[in-house]
């Protein structure tokens, strides 16, 4: 009972108070609290991901084993999961060459290189002046498979160069291009998230069609403000009210000026009231959590 109830509440109180105090005490160790506290959280969250992944696999595989509806798609999810995991931890790719020495015929080496990648004068004159002792220069072309890299190495060696095949180090393979992981990011992950994001263009239209109705005064204000801003921000809006001269007293009725005024004053006022409300809501909830008044998320008993 003590372990399950009071220790967690004590942890919440102690951690909450020290984190809050760290904002007001610049003296060490408090000044580094925020960085370490958030990194501790990231570590806990990363460990917890194992639970999430196991839960996902459990549910998808139970759908698969019991042939529930749409089980074939669960197969796609599980395959996608393990494929990405292998690219993350087992199969890396990202092989590249390091040119150690040019040998006695540098021009042959350079034109061999220029077939494979775009060479400009900067790289060319670097190649001529390779220092003997250094660890050579890295050729900016990476290959998924090792034998592709070896193929290019042999061609360079016939031209007299001394070349070494190397691999992107583990941990660095996430951002380098031509690694399998980067391929998944570029060709699977980015199009899916960009297209999901783009769906919003359709939903903005259907939501405004359905919701912007002159039901009552409030809905009408919502509608009028929305339309003025929408039209005022495209050249069409400028076109519609171009007849009002800019210098006249009524120039604020020009759509592009009116929309700016609405956005900067009434909208800002409303937004400010909501922000203060949210700020107080968060301060209130956080205080209730730290002081143990709100403890349902830790389980009553």
């Amino acid at each position: 009972m003590f372990l399950k109830r009071y220790i967690p509440l004590a942890i919440v109180f102690v951690v909450g108070v020290t984190m809050l105090a760290s904002w007001f005490i610049p003296h060490s160790p408090f000044d580094a609290f925020e960085i370490h506290a958030t990194q501790w959280f990231d570590i806990i969250a990363s460990f917890a991901m194992i639970l999430g992944a196991l839960n996902l696999l459990k549910i998808q595989s139970s759908k698969l084993i019991h042939r529930k509806r749409d089980w074939q798609y669960s197969l796609a999810a599980i395959l996608g999961f393990f494929l990405t995991l292998t690219f993350g931890f087992i199969l890396k790719g990202g092989h590249f060459l390091v040119l150690k020495d040019v040998g006695n015929n540098p021009t042959a080496v350079v034109n061999e290189l220029s077939q494979e990648l775009q060479i400009d004068n900067k790289i060319a004159n670097n190649i001529y002046a390779i220092p003997e002792t250094g660890d050579g220069i890295k050729i900016k072309k990476q290959y998924y498979t090792q034998n592709k890299a070896i193929e290019f190495k042999n061609r360079l060696e016939t031209a007299g160069a001394v070349v070494e095949v190397k691999e992107v180090i583990w941990g660095g393979h996430l951002q380098q291009n031509n690694t399998y992981f980067a391929w998944i990011f570029k060709n699977v992950f980015t199009p899916l998230s960009a297209t999901m994001f783009a769906l919003l263009a359709f939903f903005v239209a259907s939501a405004s069609y359905r919701a912007f109705k002159v039901r009552n005064l409030e809905a009408t204000i919502l509608l009028v403000a929305g339309i003025i801003i929408m039209i005022g921000r495209v050249p069409l809006g400028v076109f519609i009210t171009n007849w009002i001269p800019r210098t006249s007293f009524f120039s604020f009725l020009r759509l592009e000026i009116l929309q700016e005024w609405i956005y900067q004053y009434p909208n800002a006022a409303g937004a400010r009231a909501i922000m203060i409300g949210i700020g107080l809501g968060i301060v209130g909830t956080s205080l209730r959590v730290i002081l143990g008044i709100e403890k349902s998320f830790l389980g009553e008993k």
Partner: protein, 369 residues
């Protein structure tokens, strides 16, 4: 604290005039700025030259040997950040037009110490104390006086109605606790609201489906839903896979939840927590399957989309007050009343501030930093 600064300025001014008068050789004074919050700021003043001659300032840390040039310093008197607890000294060197050194001056050694209280955050500290006091005061008051009036919030009244509707139609209730992790206060609030909704689904024996985007939220969700089913005496109804993990990715999660909505066709959809751009995708899909949708969030940028696409929306502070409303726990109701008093104080501060500002007294606004 304040007046020492003025004396300092008069003293430095005196040196400036004195030096200038007799054209004495160059001098560099360094004084640790006590009023600075982090205690890392020093005031540097170079005397004996005017700002037409080009000069450079260098810094040397106690034990190291060579001087490091401070490139961004180009004014004779400026504030410089110096790392704490290291003996440091500054040097100024003047050059003529073709980069030849004319003369040099080195300041005495000094050391900056971090302070125990960040004085520039005093106003915020006081505000925090007042807010906490008001909230605690009204919690104590609420414990004695039982009933506290809170104005009705349409969205919260609709909770029971939405779960009831799902039960009649034999459909499930879908609860989305936002897409962020438990390190956000809105997610904590979302999980607490899940506790109350799961009490209702336990009572009405309705199917509950809680897809989550973070593993920690999954664990907290399982914990609170199990407690709700226990306290409603329905442990048999509880199945831990009600709360299940989809993915950490924002839009993959939205795609997954869309899939659940289209195939399971829940009759009631709750979206309570922190949301980003995917809010409208979820709300529009929920609307396309004809479900009652009740959203609640503190994410200001998403409120317009929830307002237009959902049946009910808890706007900002209403979302954070939900747990007090749903529990009717006197302590929580008291804390909401405390928050109201803070709002009243804020309004008074604004009005008083506007009056002062209109009559040109700017000290009031400066108090708030």
């Amino acid at each position: 604290m304040k007046n020492r600064g003025i004396w300092l300025k008069i003293f430095l001014l005196f040196i400036l005039i004195f030096n200038f008068a007799i054209g004495g050789e160059i001098n560099i004074n360094v004084e640790v700025d006590k009023s600075d919050a982090e205690g890392q700021l020093v005031n540097m003043l170079i005397t004996g030259i005017d700002n037409t001659t080009n000069f450079k300032v260098f810094k040397k840390l106690g034990d190291e040997s060579q001087w490091i040039e401070l490139k961004s310093i180009n004014k004779l008197s400026s504030k410089i950040y110096i790392k704490n607890d290291i003996l440091t000294s500054l040097k100024v060197v003047t050059y003529d037009d073709n980069e030849k050194i004319i003369e040099e001056a080195i300041s005495e050694l000094f050391i900056t110490k971090a302070q125990w209280f960040n004085t520039s955050r005093l106003a915020k500290f006081i505000f925090l104390l007042v807010t906490s006091f008001l909230i605690l005061f009204y919690i104590e008051k609420a414990k004695k006086k039982k009933e506290i009036y809170l104005r009705p919030i349409a969205g919260l009244k609709a909770f029971e109605e939405a779960v009831g509707r799902a039960t009649e139609m034999g459909k499930s209730v879908l609860f989305v606790p936002g897409i962020m992790d438990l390190d956000q206060v809105e997610t904590i609030s979302g999980i607490i609201i899940l506790g109350y909704v799961s009490k209702m689904t336990a009572r009405y024996e309705t199917d509950l489906n809680v897809p989550v985007a973070r593993s920690i939220v999954m664990e907290a969700g399982k914990e609170i839903v199990r407690e709700s089913y226990m306290s409603e005496g329905r442990p048999d109804q509880f199945n831990s896979d009600m709360v299940h993990y989809l993915t950490d990715d924002q839009f993959a999660y939205a795609a997954g939840v869309n899939g659940i909505m289209l195939r399971e066709k829940p009759a009631a959809v709750f979206m309570q927590g922190k949301f980003y751009a995917e809010s409208l995708i979820l709300a529009e899909t929920g609307n396309s399957i004809g479900a009652i949708q009740i959203a609640g969030t503190g994410s200001q940028a998403q409120l317009p989309f929830f307002i237009t696409a959902c049946d009910y929306t808890l706007i900002g502070e209403e979302f954070f007050a939900a747990s007090a409303y749903l529990s009717q726990d006197p302590k929580l109701l008291g804390s909401i009343k405390g928050q109201d008093m803070v709002k009243a104080a804020i309004m008074i501060i604004i009005v008083v501030g506007v009056v002062f500002e209109s009559f040109g007294a700017e000290f009031f606004k400066k108090l708030l930093g």
